[in-house]
């Protein structure tokens, strides 16, 4: 292989990226060395098994990926703003939409939500950490290294260009030669390990580690949503693992599962992909539903309307999420009966979703609604998500879908649910629980600007795309003629996209501004409206053991009960016992590095390197198996000092 095949060459945009990557890396290395932060980075972050720190790292990585995916999006919008534009060529455009889709779903939406789940869920159920803290670190590092492997593709070797759906036979060796598609397969495979482990970890955590008195039907809605999501992950992700493995065999070892030759079956890939892919959509929307339930209830100062209906609605949605995958390819010619059945099952999902929308509206009914930024994002969600929902029902009508399929109508629909639902939840949840992570709130004034800019930009960007769909504009075209008449609406859409980009930058500024100037909160509940246990910790940023004394729960909304009944939750000296906590470990990080080596080797089909990496992975597993470190006890002195308890 020549050097110019290893590094992507010939495009000024890529050279620009090369320079900025080099400069950023040098900058980070300089900062860590000059300020002597290496030890701090290793002992406080890289080796941590603390769910709150892992959560913060998940969120930080997700915000970084949102930037990457967002830049991809804006590059596409520039190319599409005018007819016959020459900004990107076809191959480059195809790579960009492929990485945009993959990154936004797998490396942005999911980790962002998993990050918030990591930070909040153990606190919300009154646990000191997750069930398997070491496994949690493995989850994070495999996700992170998978994301990095996928991300370097655009400067080393070339990005995948078969779409985030990677339909066969297009994604096979004959039609997509080169390392690009291998990056997709191995990046997702490695990150998928992390997601599956997270699913198992939180499933056990929520089922086994709840505070005394917290029965299943006293769990906060966000916890419920996380539980249901983890069940979906445990059932859905193995399908992706297998499908990716089969395609890897096709590409690397000459197998014929999905290929043109050897009686491969390309439709099988589409089925397997969406058997995972549709539940995946609910993996990224159900936690969002849970967060909105918490936030709307808190800022309406009312208990959630129809709690049980909300729970059952989620359970039904989760079950149905496995019964609708065919609606992603009604046009495959499965026949009238199959299409009718899947049309109806898909529409039925609209019922529990509708119930949830009305329950949120009536949670605010007879409440005292305050318009804080998390609440604004939640209200914006209702407005936008309903549009996403009704257009989803329209797409579910197979006979009509033959006209919408593969058009911008579909693009607009799923951005209305994924941005209007998931991304709005990420903003709402991050702002709401920000003090739990960093000890101060985000600036409300800038936050409101961010919301309005983003909300307006989002609608300006995506609403015209419904109309472009009606006008027959297919997705994934890299350009169009002036005669098509799609120019003006595309220009509007591009302007909206840039307004969203501006909102993102303003949000980053808001993080900085608040870090510098925001008041440091001390009490456990800086919003003053918290209802669930995470607000019962005595300090804003909970100590590493979360609760000095695990609180006892007597009903829904325990913190609201403590507040109303004036119960003092400050731990008493007599109740204190030494707390057992797990040890930090550097093994998960090292394991992830070996995964990277193995993945990178397989991407370029350098099998010696793949084998070395996998041997390294097994060695780290063996080391872990013989590791007899059994954690440590937090002494009474430290607890007393942290909780400011005087004898």
């Amino acid at each position: 292989m020549k050097w110019d095949e290893f590094f992507v060459t010939g495009d000024p945009l890529i050279y620009g990226a090369d320079v900025s990557i080099a400069l950023t890396t040098v900058g980070i290395l300089f900062y860590l060395t000059y300020f002597k932060k290496w030890k701090w980075l290793w002992t406080e972050w890289i080796t941590t098994v603390d769910h709150k720190k892992l959560g913060i790292m998940y969120i930080a990585a997700a915000v970084l990926m949102m930037f990457r995916g967002g830049v991809d999006a804006l590059l596409m919008r520039v190319q599409l703003a005018t007819p016959d534009a020459k900004f990107l060529d076809s191959q480059h455009y195809n790579e960009i939409f492929t990485t945009h889709g993959t990154i936004m779903i797998i490396f942005m939406a999911m980790p962002f939500l998993i990050g918030l789940i990591n930070v909040v869920i153990p606190l919300q159920i009154g646990a000191r950490d997750v069930a398997f803290p070491y496994l949690n670190a493995v989850s994070f590092w495999t996700f992170f290294i998978g994301a990095m492997l996928f991300n370097i593709s655009f400067v080393i070797g070339g990005s995948p260009s078969a779409g985030w759906t990677s339909y066969m036979p297009l994604a096979g060796n004959e039609l997509s030669p080169g390392p690009g598609q291998n990056y997709y397969l191995l990046g997702l495979q490695i990150a998928g390990i992390g997601t599956l482990l997270t699913g198992i970890n939180f499933l056990v955590t929520i089922l086994k580690m709840r505070a005394p008195g917290m029965t299943l039907f006293r769990m906060p809605m966000f916890t419920w949503s996380a539980l249901v999501t983890m069940v979906i992950i445990v059932f859905a992700f193995p399908i992706l693992t297998i499908a990716l493995a089969l395609m890897t065999f096709d590409r690397l070892f000459g197998a014929h599962f999905f290929t043109l030759q050897g009686a491969g079956m390309d439709m099988l890939w589409a089925n397997l992909f969406w058997l995972w892919g549709h539940p995946e959509v609910y993996i990224v929307i159900l936690p969002a539903f849970g967060m909105f339930s918490e936030i709307i209830s808190a800022f309406s100062r009312k208990t959630l309307f129809g709690y049980k209906a909300m729970v059952w609605a989620m359970v039904i949605i989760a079950a149905y999420s496995f019964m609708v995958w065919v609606h992603h390819f009604f046009t495959m010619g499965s026949g009238a009966l199959v299409n009718s059945v899947f049309s109806i099952t898909t529409m039925i999902i609209g019922i529990p979703t509708g119930i949830k929308i009305f329950n949120w509206l009536f949670t605010m009914y007879k409440g005292r609604i305050s318009f804080t930024t998390p609440m604004l994002w939640s209200l914006g969600f209702i407005i936008n998500f309903v549009i996403g929902g009704v257009t989803g029902v329209m797409l579910a009508m197979a006979a009509a879908d033959y006209q919408y399929h593969n058009t911008y109508f579909l693009i607009a629909h799923f951005h209305y649910v994924l941005i209007g639902g998931t991304v709005y939840a990420c903003f709402a949840g991050l702002i709401y629980w920000y003090p739990k992570m960093f000890g101060h709130r985000l600036n409300e004034r800038i936050g409101k600007w961010v919301f309005w800019l983003f909300n307006i930009g989002f609608n300006v960007c995506f609403f015209p795309q419904f109309l472009l769909g009606f006008d027959g504009m297919p997705r994934r075209v890299y350009t169009y003629s002036a005669a098509s008449g799609w120019g003006p609406l595309n220009m509007v859409s591009t302007i909206g996209g840039f307004v969203m980009g501006l909102a993102f930058l303003l949000f980053v500024y808001c993080l900085y501004y608040s870090f510098r100037y925001a008041k440091r909160e001390v009490a456990g509940d800086p919003w003053g409206v918290g209802r669930t246990l995470e607000w019962a910790t005595t300090s804003t940023v909970p100590p590493h053991y979360n609760f000095a004394v695990i609180p006892t729960v007597t009903g829904l909304d325990p913190v609201e009960t403590f507040r109303n009944q004036k119960i003092d939750t400050k731990p008493k000296l007599a109740d204190l016992k030494p707390i057992h906590m797990p040890d930090y470990s550097g093994v998960p990080f090292v394991m992830a590095v070996f995964f990277f080596i193995a993945g990178f080797g397989l991407v370029f089909e350098w099998y010696w390197m793949g084998i070395v990496g996998l041997i390294g992975v097994f060695i780290t597993m063996i080391i872990r198996s013989f590791d007899r470190n059994e954690g440590f006890y937090v002494g009474l002195e430290e607890i007393k000092e942290t909780e400011r308890i005087n004898e």
């Binding site: 100062r301 009312k302 609209g350 197979a398 399929h405």
Partner: protein, 316 residues
């Protein structure tokens, strides 16, 4: 307070205008030229109507609740922190969506079944014209088996007569779509899918592959010319006598990835030596035989090959 809500109200207004605007005839799927597209248009408009009702109900409720129960209202006496559910209300908003879904499902299923049948539903239906459409990166090859002619990137069809498209692909999964005549269906190698369409008006309608299949995807388009039956008969006779025969060498060249500069017509079809619905690997084997090796788009060979016009690689 209304100041805070005004953007929401304005947004709602703009959206409804857009939706109503969406029903105008200026958009291709609302400008059908045949019974299939017309049926789909009616179904779509019907669903937009029902969906608009849902949007209005939710947005009105949303606005009223936000105004009435905002924190800084004068009278807080209607604040009720213990209001946590209502069997009656929850039953209502479970049943109404069920009714709406039934109202959508019945016509949907009916149209789904209708679209699988010939468009001529009269008692003495006309036999449909059969056209085999084969997608190959990045062009469309059409065979008229009965007439014995083959075209590339265009078709002529007689007006008012059902046309049965038998779809397949020589390589990647493609989707055959002529929006003004009706919805799309996939064309897949090793498979044959069937799609009935019909034109009610004379004219030229744009068709394309709508399923992404690589570098030349954007320009994988074709034209459908709807002509009278007499003109169609004349055209087939002319083509049969004047056009060259399709040779195997020529056909194999068409199997290479790339676009064709002009449309083509032949007086024989490829169906007598290959049907891609039964021979999924024909194109791949042909490329191998002709010594065409798939190139990494970032490899040095590919870069030299298509420097100036990356889209026109492999012009036949």
């Amino acid at each position: 307070m209304f100041k805070r809500l005004r953007p929401f109200l304005a947004l709602g207004l703009v959206l409804s205008v857009f939706f109503l605007g969406g029903c105008s005839n200026s958009y291709v799927i609302f400008d059908p030229k045949g019974p299939v597209a017309a049926q789909q248009k009616d179904l779509i408009l019907y669903s937009i109507g029902l969906m608009a009702i849902i949007l209005v109900v939710v947005y009105v409720l949303f606005t009223v609740i936000l105004v009435k129960y905002r924190e800084n209202r004068k009278d807080l006496s209607n604040y009720d922190p213990h209001n946590h559910g209502s069997k009656k209300l929850e039953t209502i908003w479970t049943i109404i969506p069920i009714i709406i879904i039934i109202a959508l499902a019945i016509p949907t299923v009916k149209v789904i079944y209708d679209l699988e049948k010939s468009t001529d539903t009269s008692s003495k239906p006309k036999a449909p014209l059969v056209i085999n459409a084969t997608a190959v990166d990045w062009k469309w090859i059409f065979s008229y088996p009965k007439q014995g002619i083959e075209t590339v990137n265009y078709i002529n069809i007689p007006k008012d007569r059902p046309v049965l498209f038998k779809l397949t692909s020589a390589d990647s999964m493609s989707s055959f779509w002529v929006p003004q005549l009706g919805g799309q269906k996939y064309a897949m190698s090793g498979m044959e899918t069937e799609l009935y369409l019909q034109a009610d008006e004379l004219g030229t309608f744009e068709g394309r592959n709508s399923n992404f299949n690589g570098e030349g995807f954007t320009h994988q388009t074709f034209n459908v010319h709807s002509v009278s039956q007499a003109d169609f008969d004349k055209w087939t006779a002319d083509m049969k006598s004047k056009s060259p025969k399709l040779t195997k060498e020529q056909y194999d060249k068409l199997m290479l990835q790339g676009h064709v500069k002009k449309t083509m017509t032949f007086s024989s079809t490829h169906l007598k030596w290959v049907n891609h619905a039964h021979e999924a690997d024909y194109a791949v084997k042909t490329r191998e035989r002709l010594g065409v090796v798939p190139q990494n788009p970032h490899g040095s060979k590919a870069k030299d090959a298509n420097k100036p016009e990356s889209d026109s690689k492999g012009d036949s």
